[in-house]
């Protein structure tokens, strides 16, 4: 919608562009209609299902707060896993992200390779990594850390790269003009500009990893996500509600920390 059309000047502009836009819109619309059929979208169904939602929610209330003491240990466990998983991911993602940023990459080939690695890390699901690392190091939190690290690296690397592509090129040019080494340009010219995004992404990913129940369940690492799934499977929805509250608390604390650090940096 907000595409710049630098090349089109003069009267030809209106008609040509209108046509182009109408075509794109028609295409989009038909994709949506097609997908709506494929997914059986139906607002009526949703509205009719309303009492069932209420019924479901009513079974969650009141939350069974008595289980909260039992949740402390799994929560801490998951936090620890997420800390290491995310940190390793960050360490992996930084070089990949730098190489995959079009405006910073030393060579187009390196750019392509970095992008492919990042895509592959994201394409291989956490579960597959989980199985591989269970085979390697056995059950427990450690394979969980490794699986989360690899998959998260794919996601973080992509985000770093695109944040770097968005920066103001002025300061970077200025530092290059002083004859600074590429690494120095990155540390002094790029890092301060992407720092807020960096914080957002990393803490978001950390939070995501705390909730990563499926992998951690698969590798036998337990944690708060495991408790959540178990409570749902046992239909103890009042417990589920408590667990969700604990997760909400964690998320809120992290969100608060993130916003404090960011407001300091921005």
């Amino acid at each position: 919608m907000l595409m710049p059309d630098h090349e089109k000047i003069g009267p030809a502009w209106d008609g040509y562009l209108l046509l182009q836009r109408v075509l794109v819109l028609a295409l989009l619309l038909s994709v949506y209609v097609w997908s709506a059929y494929g997914t059986n979208l139906s607002i009526a169904e949703l509205v009719r299902g309303y009492p069932h939602v209420l019924d479901f929610l009513s079974r969650m209330f009141p939350p069974n707060l008595t289980i909260i003491p039992e949740l402390v240990r799994p929560t801490i466990e998951t936090i620890q896993i997420a800390i290491w998983g995310t940190t390793l991911a960050v360490l992996l993602a930084i070089p990949l992200g730098l190489l995959a940023a079009a405006n910073l990459t030393p060579h187009p080939v390196l750019y392509a390779v970095a992008r492919i690695i990042l895509n592959a890390l994201r394409a291989v699901s956490e579960m597959v990594f989980g199985l591989i690392f269970v085979a390697a190091v056995g059950l427990g939190p450690f394979p969980g850390v490794l699986a989360l690290a690899l998959h998260s690296a794919g996601m973080l690397g992509k985000f770093y790269a695109e944040a770097i592509e968005n920066i103001d090129p002025g300061p970077v040019e200025a530092l290059e003009a002083t004859g600074a080494h590429k690494l120095q340009v990155i540390i002094y010219g790029v890092v301060p500009q992407v720092l807020p995004e960096f914080i957002t992404y990393n803490l978001y990913r950390w939070e995501h990893n705390v909730r990563a129940a499926t992998v951690l369940g698969l590798v036998g690492a337990g944690g708060i996500g495991f408790e959540l799934i178990t409570s749902m499977r046992l239909f103890k929805y009042a417990d589920t509600a408590s667990i969700l509250l604990v997760i909400l608390l964690t998320v809120t604390v992290v969100d608060y920390i993130s916003s404090r650090i960011r407001s300091y940096v921005i």
């Binding site: 200025a174 003009a177 002083t178 004859g179 600074a180 690494l183 010219g189 500009q193 720092l195 921005i266």
Partner: protein, 264 residues
Amino acid sequence: MIRITGLYKEYPNGVQALCDVNLEIGNGEFVVLLGPSGAGKSTLLRCINGLVRPTAGQVEVNGVQVGAENGSNLRKLRRQIGMIFQQFNLVKRLRVLDNVLCGRLAYTPLWSSCFRFFSRRDVELAKSCLERVGLIDKAYQRADQLSGGQQQRVGIARALVQQPAVLLADEPLASLDPRSSRTVMETLREINCQDHITVIVSLHDVDLAMEFARRVVGIREGSVIMDKPVSQVTRKDLEYVYDGMATEPSINSGTYGRTEYAHA
């Protein structure tokens, strides 16, 4: 020695910013670039240190060809060329002192700059440059908390701290009051005379240009249309460069675009 031969620059959007520019600037010269807005002054300056890659033609600085070089050779060349940017190009989230210290990066070992360690000498030098532009009391403020003129002076300090052999200054006075402008120009003259630093500065203030330049280069629509020692520059020449200024009614009493006002 800067030798520019047959320089062309066409931007990707088709704008022809430079068109067959040929220039030779000796060591220790003080050259002012004059020209209307959009003439190509910034583009020319940016070609000299390789920030803009020319479409055709060559730039040679002290015998080294800009653009053919890369990696550590390019860095070594750039280390000798300081640049003051028209839009300041400060790192806004860094403190003023850190911004100035950035000018010393090329002299700092990689490993220690990673930890933001600068030698005591560099810090002293940076502080003295800040003093020179009158901003020592803002050293620990973030760059984005400064007024326009203050930011411009930080950009100037960053170029000075680099202690370059060639100084490219792109409108270094744009946001400065007359007094600061004068101080900056005097600083430029000082380093030019005392340290034999080549200074190439693009200016819009014709009076200051006439006062400080030793050679004036006029650019118009991407081409050099005037290149003279300052003593030979006439009013006509300037009119020619800016085109149409002669027709302005307010030029009178031999001064250039200026009216008299009351004296105390």
